[in-house]
Symmetry: C2
Subunit: 302 residues, 2 copies
């Protein structure tokens, strides 16, 4: 059954937040500071897009609601949050504001922020190891997530999230080229979005062929998502973004509009989404909700 995207988004947030509330140690659990720091960043108003992609993919592949897939979503959100906490640190992007709130190190100090990021990565893998699917599927999911969020290993595999962060840090001050921006975007944001879709499919018991289609879909959606993010950074105010707007330009960061301009960037994002949808042809009407979410990713305003 196809639902309005606002309903899908609201349900994604509600379900993910309940799971995260249950999986994260409480603020009263010792040692207090790190659990409060983890919760500060995890419950800072994230849109839970990666969990939503995992959940909608699983439902699409299984053809019905999937028990426990929300825990996969929660683990992906923990990984996303750990990467934001570390990315915001003074030694990296040095950001004070994230989703309209003080960043983790501003609120809890650098030492606790570093360890809170570490602990969220650790808790994500604990959560994946506890997934209510077969051990074979769980091991495959752990492997997919680790590869997607690692440094990449050169030719045979695309670089992962941390590899993208390194390229981003090292590219600062250089004139961005199309190849460089695409490589950074595919790695830094695209890989985690792709793996959210792929692991949702693995959780639901998808065939190798289905997983290949999901991967093709995810790679295009992931890149489109980051292009839109770059455009929003240029065109929206800090207030509506909840983070420091225009920062990417100010620091000469590798962004899509810096290479292609705003209009062409928007056109390419749209084209990527349309192209991505072709990969879902085999799922027929069952793909409608996932497509709505993907469409939202290129039409959102913050």
């Amino acid at each position: 059954m196809s639902l309005p995207v606002q309903e899908l988004l609201a349900r994604g947030v509600a379900l993910t937040d309940v799971a995260l509330e249950r999986l994260l140690p409480g603020s009263e659990v010792l040692p207090h500071s790190i659990h409060r720091a983890m919760r500060h960043s995890v419950f800072a108003g994230g849109k839970r897009l990666r969990p939503l992609l995992a959940m909608e993919t699983a439902v699409m592949v299984a053809g019905s609601e999937m028990d426990g897939v929300v825990e996969l979503g929660a683990a992906l959100e923990m990984i996303h949050t750990y990467s934001l906490i570390h990315d915001d640190l003074p030694a990296l992007d040095n950001d004070d504001l994230r989703r309209g709130k003080p960043t983790c190190h501003v609120a809890y100090g650098e030492a606790i922020a570093i360890l809170a990021g570490d602990a969220l990565q650790t808790l994500a893998y604990e959560t994946l190891a506890n997934l209510r699917c077969s051990a074979q599927a769980a091991v495959q999911i752990v492997k997919e997530v680790a590869v997607a969020t690692g440094t990449g290993v050169g030719g045979s595999l695309p670089p992962g999230m941390i590899g993208g962060q390194v390229m981003d840090v090292e590219g600062e001050g250089q004139k961005p080229t199309a190849e460089m921006v695409e490589a950074i975007h595919r790695a830094k944001t695209g890989a985690l979005i792709t793996v959210s879709i792929v692991t949702g499919g693995i959780y639901a018991g998808g065939s190798a062929e289905q997983i290949a289609h999901l991967r093709a879909f995810g790679e295009r959606i992931g890149l489109a998502f980051q292009i839109v993010d770059d455009v929003l950074d240029l065109t929206q105010s800090s207030e509506s973004l909840g983070k420091t707007a225009g920062k990417d330009t100010a620091t000469d960061k590798a962004t899509w509009p810096a290479v292609f301009g705003i209009q062409e960037s928007c056109r390419q994002a749209d084209a990527l989404v349309k192209d991505a949808f072709l990969a879902l042809d085999g799922f027929g009407e069952r793909a409608e909700n996932l497509k709505s979410v993907a469409r939202y990713l290129t039409e959102r305003k913050n």
Copy 2:
């Protein structure tokens, strides 16, 4: 067959280093800086005690050499190294020297050191997901490692490695009590040593009863190991330690000798090792090599 401990140690280093060399991306793989930083810290002359404990435990439980257990050891060493890299950062212990070499952030800068630590944790889980054991055993190993290296969740489980680091950071400047030092030691060092032994047993297909005995053994050995480390910090020179000696006293850190004195600390470490050996009674003579390694941990001079 029982071997001299120096032979066991040398074999542990040699086998682990071959596996790490194979598992870590090469220095020439893009992005260069992070792979060089990871290798800098992983190949800084570590004694590979955690891999050795995992390997000797697996051989003891299986009754013969275990194929592929060295990859489990390599993953544990990656986790150990990631924790050292982050612990050495300016915001935490601010150490310039580790095993006689510049620490990761001194050699590669803070941003790359933070990401290199992150990437070693990620690669450890990728490695665990690729272990050549059953999927059931691999999932159990991922779970055990994540719990042991996390923050702990209050009453039901002992705190893990990151929880110990937090307690250590927050305890600085306070007069250390016996309870506090024991909690920090069990979490910060003990948990990873214990899980090296426990996962070696799981990899080898040990029964629940055997795993319980291994856990009891590991907890005592882990605590004894850290007590000896504290004593060495007080009694050895920086040169023989390869790190800044006396730093624990200088910063009023929670150490065993600060509470019990040097002589009583040594006595307690010996008593813990003897007590630990009782838990291995069921393995008979097959436990000799593992016992030799454990004995070495409390007699080492650096």
